[in-house]
């Protein structure tokens, strides 16, 4: 890899730093040399991956201004050859007929069948080579983002031939981020050579490549450098431990937020109404399927679809909730254990409905661009964005619910009906209406949880089953009828689980948490935050 990089970089140097920039401006004026270009692409269409690698180098060495586009298309698997020998770039490869464009002229050629097209295949080694090639080209790009990505790729890839040109680049670079990265890359090279300057420059760096370079220096021949490297490593390790701690906490909170989302709707129907809704998981499943449905309705706009599925998921689940309340639960007032059985039946029916009505297979829900990837805090710590969004979403839902229960007329009525149904009715509260609305609210929140879960896990008929037991544990652990209890219980169970997992393993961690809950309930039969007063009886 390194040899390839330096080779590629030298090519660029020979051609002049401004090659790519110039080429881009001149592209319109200079007529493309198509015979030579065809020969370059022709060389890619061979079976051996080694020959392909050489063909890629040749493309890079040519001064063809389309080189970067070709390499990118090759990297994306869109560079294909039609049966008549023409090279095309596939614009969209879903379905059986694909729209294509001529690779040489960029002119659209209409649709072609996938039977008539042969992809120029690459493997992971070539993919690495292509990325490096593109990175090298991009190092001279006027585009800042491209330069940054390309500089980050050079860490640990620098060798003796590259040091000089990179040092020169550092001098010319305006962006401080790119400069830092490039200097780090050079320092890693020096540290690996056992030079003191490199070790000093790397002290405090958390990047894994820097750590590898330091540990190599620590095993080097020069005792002074080795000692310095060891000292640097010790401080790095300490720093890493702290970062790892923060990471585990984040994992725990993230898992906790999922538990809270799954359980909070239950806390309302179970805690406030006394209904044990075993179909709660299936209401979540409906929320997730709503997200999928929205994405089907709005193809190409997964982000918008996701945002719209928040109200849609709430509505769908709430309406199904109302249907369940009216058709079944209202007949089982005051018989909580029997609502458990009846709603369990409903959960089976809902699952099977999805299985026969939609498909027993999982559905693909796309994660929008702005929710993928992670937020880089430092070289050793980055936090995944999708989970951060879910964590925030859980807190917002919780705050919203608290607001409804504390500050609205509905909340007041719900609390009144819960505490003393007869008295509330005699005060003119329509208890039946309150029941319907409460159940709809709890179900709707389950729908919201489903929308969030669609971004983390499978959207399939079994989604609900996977969360129902955990949700009950959270509610019971937190104390039935207490929303704060659910929040605290969910987050703390999440953190406990993630702290245990690295040394106990995933299964044992889960078992330990369950046993802990069982024992905790023996100690405090009404959970963390027990309800007080007469409402708690029964």
């Amino acid at each position: 890899m390194r040899r390839f990089l330096s080779l590629a970089l030298l090519c660029c140097l020979l051609l002049g730093f401004t090659l790519t920039a110039q080429a881009q401006t001149e592209a319109a004026t200079s007529p493309p040399n198509d015979t030579a270009a065809l020969a370059l692409l022709d060389a890619l269409d061979v079976d051996s991956y080694r020959d392909k690698g050489e063909a890629i180098t040749a493309i890079l060495q040519s001064d063809d201004e389309r080189a970067r586009d070709w390499l990118q298309a090759l990297l994306d698997g869109r560079l294909q050859r039609a049966d008549d020998g023409q090279f095309v770039v596939v614009l969209d490869n879903s379905g059986r007929e694909w729209p294509v464009a001529d690779a040489l002229t960029n002119e659209p050629l209409g649709e072609m069948s996938r039977r008539d097209l042969n992809r120029v295949g690459i493997n992971n080694a070539l993919r690495n080579q292509l990325r490096s090639a593109i990175a090298v080209v991009d190092l001279y790009s006027p585009n800042l983002e491209r330069r940054r990505t390309s500089a980050a790729r050079l860490l640990g890839e620098v060798d003796s031939e590259l040091v000089e040109p990179i040092n020169e680049l550092i001098l010319e670079e305006d962006d401080s981020q790119v400069r830092t990265r490039l200097s780090q890359a050079v320092a890693i090279y020096h540290a690996e050579q056992g030079e003191m300057a490199g070790v000093e420059a790397l002290t405090g760096s958390l990047h894994p490549r820097a750590r590898v370079a330091l540990s190599r220096a620590a095993n080097g021949d020069d005792p002074v450098v080795a000692d310095a490297a060891r000292a640097a490593l010790v401080s790095v390790e300490q720093n890493l431990k702290i970062n790892r701690g923060i990471e585990t906490l984040y994992f725990g909170l993230s898992l906790g937020s999922v538990l809270v989302l799954a359980a909070i709707g239950l806390a309302i129907t179970f805690g406030v109404m006394g209904v044990i809704n075993m179909a709660h998981g299936e209401l979540m499943m409906l929320g997730a399927y709503t997200t999928w449905m929205m994405q089907q309705l709005l193809p190409g706009q997964p982000g918008l679809a996701l945002v719209l599925s928040i109200p849609a998921g709430f509505l769908v689940a709430a309406l199904v909730g109302v249907a369940i309340e009216r058709s079944v639960i209202q007949f089982l007032k005051g018989r909580p254990l029997e609502t458990l059985l009846a709603t369990f039946g409903i959960s089976l029916i809902l699952q099977q409905l999805v299985r026969t009505g939609i498909s027993p297979l999982n559905r693909t829900v796309i994660t929008p661009e702005w929710m993928s990837g992670s937020l880089v805090i430092n070289d050793a710590l980055s936090l995944t964005i999708n989970r951060m969004v879910v964590l925030a979403f859980a807190l917002v839902v919780f705050a919203g619910l608290m607001l409804i229960m504390r500050r609205t007329r509905l909340g007041l009525e719900v609390r009144a009906v819960t505490q003393n149904r007869a008295m509330a009715r005699s005060m003119g509260i329509r208890a039946t209406r309150v029941d319907i609305l409460t159940f709809a609210l709890g179900s709707g929140v389950a729908g919201l949880a489903g929308v969030a879960l669609s971004q983390l896990t499978n959207v399939g008929p079994n989604l609900g089953q996977n969360y129902i037991i955990d949700s009950f544990m959270v509610v019971v652990f937190g104390g039935v009828g207490n929303l704060w209890g659910t929040l605290v219980a969910g987050l703390s169970l999440g953190v406990i689980n993630q702290v245990l997992e690295p040394w106990a393993g995933a299964v044992l961690a889960k078992i330990i948490v369950l046993v802990f809950i069982i024992l905790f309930i023996q100690k405090r039969p009404r959970g963390l935050f027990p309800q007080k007063g007469r409402a708690a009886e029964g």
Binding site: N124, R211, R216, L255, V258, N362, S372, S374, T384
Partner: protein
């Protein structure tokens, strides 16, 4: 209590308890060979249509039904029509055994195509052996088994796991391996074999092998993925060998891509992720991760394109995908049909004799042969995931590989071989002490016969 009245043609033996098991086979055979008529040939299909496994198994039921339909359109078999007998074991293992008994004793099917999980096969095995049935099992599995009544048309570990690891070492230059799997028998056994293989054949150190097991349907991969990331940051090229099952894959891959682990940095090679599983995943971020199978839908062969077209027509779904276990059923079904033609009867013992050595085309442009150990020959393909949910084949074995029932890398099974041809007829022959299973089973059966 309701009592069912059943008309049953099978045998009745109130003889010695031990003799019953040994004689059962021949008694059944006589009863069946007398049953040659113009009645349709019954093909039992034992795949879960409800419950958690329905997601994988339903398409296999449809595949066999499609193959039966095609066979009937082509004039049936031995001049008789084929008839599918479908039952639903509902992803419930004891129910698998009960349904298998129903198929063999009640419906008297001539052959069964079925099962996905190892546990369901283990549950069915004693029933199929007792009632002398034929079972074609289409899924890649952990090996360590060879039954006279079962034909394993999926891959054994040496037809999937070992070539995949050799590819990683020789072609990609991987030096560090994270073996991540769901905690059940297939990953456990496969990983044991791989560990032994990596250490013995390639001198990989223990510190360069990480093993981790998670429960079924595991959905929170944050910790494990970050551990993998750290494991891969030690300066050596690292790969993940994944035997993660079914539903747990989606959150696993999602977490991988979100934590920024790219196929070019740490490739994941999976043994249980096929086209079917990918239909539930947004494959954009997964491009370049690998899978090892014996068939991919993207295989460029005319037989394959015909099969795909037939499948799309049969399901009426433009987006329908094909996968490896479907090809296994395709091969298994054709092998059975060929053996029936060769034997001129559907009688189980005759078919069992006839099928060894039968060779039929597979879907990747080659041929599959039934070996004496009831496993078949298969090419091994390595594919990279593409953003359209398909695999791009990046490597394949130069020739087909014969399935090995007993792994050479496990201490208990190193000396065992299986050969169901006469006169050996043994599924666990010990080549060291030269006896079947190295146990007293053979003597006991003889003693029972003498009684």
């Amino acid at each position: 209590m309701a009592i069912q009245h059943h008309h049953v043609l099978s045998r009745r033996f109130i003889t010695s308890v031990l003799a019953a098991a040994v004689m059962g086979a021949s008694a059944q055979a006589i009863a069946q060979s007398a049953d040659q008529s113009d009645d349709p040939i019954k093909v039992g299909i034992l795949h879960s249509l409800s419950g958690t496994m329905a997601i994988s198994e339903t398409v296999l039921k449809d595949t066999v039904e499609m193959l039966i339909e095609q066979q009937n359109d082509a004039g049936g078999l031995l001049g008789r029509q084929l008839e599918a007998v479908v039952v639903d074991p509902a992803s419930n293992w004891p129910l698998f055994a009960e349904r298998a008994r129903e198929l063999l004793a009640q419906e008297e099917v001539d052959v069964i195509f079925g099962n996905w999980t190892s546990v369901s096969r283990k549950a069915v095995l004693p029933v199929v052996e007792e009632l002398n049935g034929l079972l074609f099992y289409p899924v890649q599995y952990e090996g360590e088994e060879s039954s006279g009544n079962v034909f394993y048309t999926g891959a054994a570990p040496n037809q999937q796991a070992i070539p995949a690891v050799e590819y990683l070492i020789n072609e990609v230059g991987i030096e560090r391996f994270a073996l991540i799997g769901t905690d059940y028998v297939y990953p456990r056994t496969t990983n044991r074999i791989l560990e032994a293989f990596l250490k013995d054949e390639h001198g990989i150190e223990q510190e360069d092998i990480m093993v981790n097991y998670t429960p079924f349907g595991h959905s929170d991969w944050q910790n494990i993925v970050s551990e993998i990331r750290r494991f891969g940051e030690e300066g050596k090229p690292t790969a993940v060998i994944s035997t993660i099952n079914g539903d747990a894959n989606v959150p696993f891959y999602t977490e991988l891509s979100n934590q920024g682990i790219d196929a070019a940095d740490i490739p994941v090679i999976a043994f249980s992720v096929g086209e079917q599983e990918l239909t539930g995943i947004d494959t954009g971020p997964l491009v370049g991760h690998l899978a090892a199978w014996n068939y991919f839908m993207s295989v460029d062969s005319d037989d394959n394109y015909d099969f795909i077209d037939a499948w799309i027509d049969y399901t009426g779904d433009e987006e329908a995908v094909t996968n490896d276990p479907m090809e296994a059923h395709y091969i298994g079904f054709n092998m059975w049909a060929e053996a029936v033609r060769k034997a001129g009867t559907t009688d189980v013992d005759s078919v069992k004799d006839a099928i060894i050595g039968v060779t039929v085309p597979n879907l990747s442009g080659g041929y599959a042969a039934m070996m004496p150990n009831h496993h078949i020959t298969k090419p091994v393909l390595i594919g990279e995931i593409q953003d359209n949910g398909q695999f791009d084949i990046v490597w394949q074995t130069p020739s087909t590989v014969a399935g090995d029932a007993w792994s050479d890398y496990l201490p208990g099974s190193r000396d065992l071989i299986a050969d169901w041809r006469k006169p050996m007829e043994c599924g666990n022959f010990n080549v060291v002490n030269g006896s079947c299973g190295g146990s007293t089973a053979a003597e006991e059966a003889e003693a029972a016969l003498a009684e």
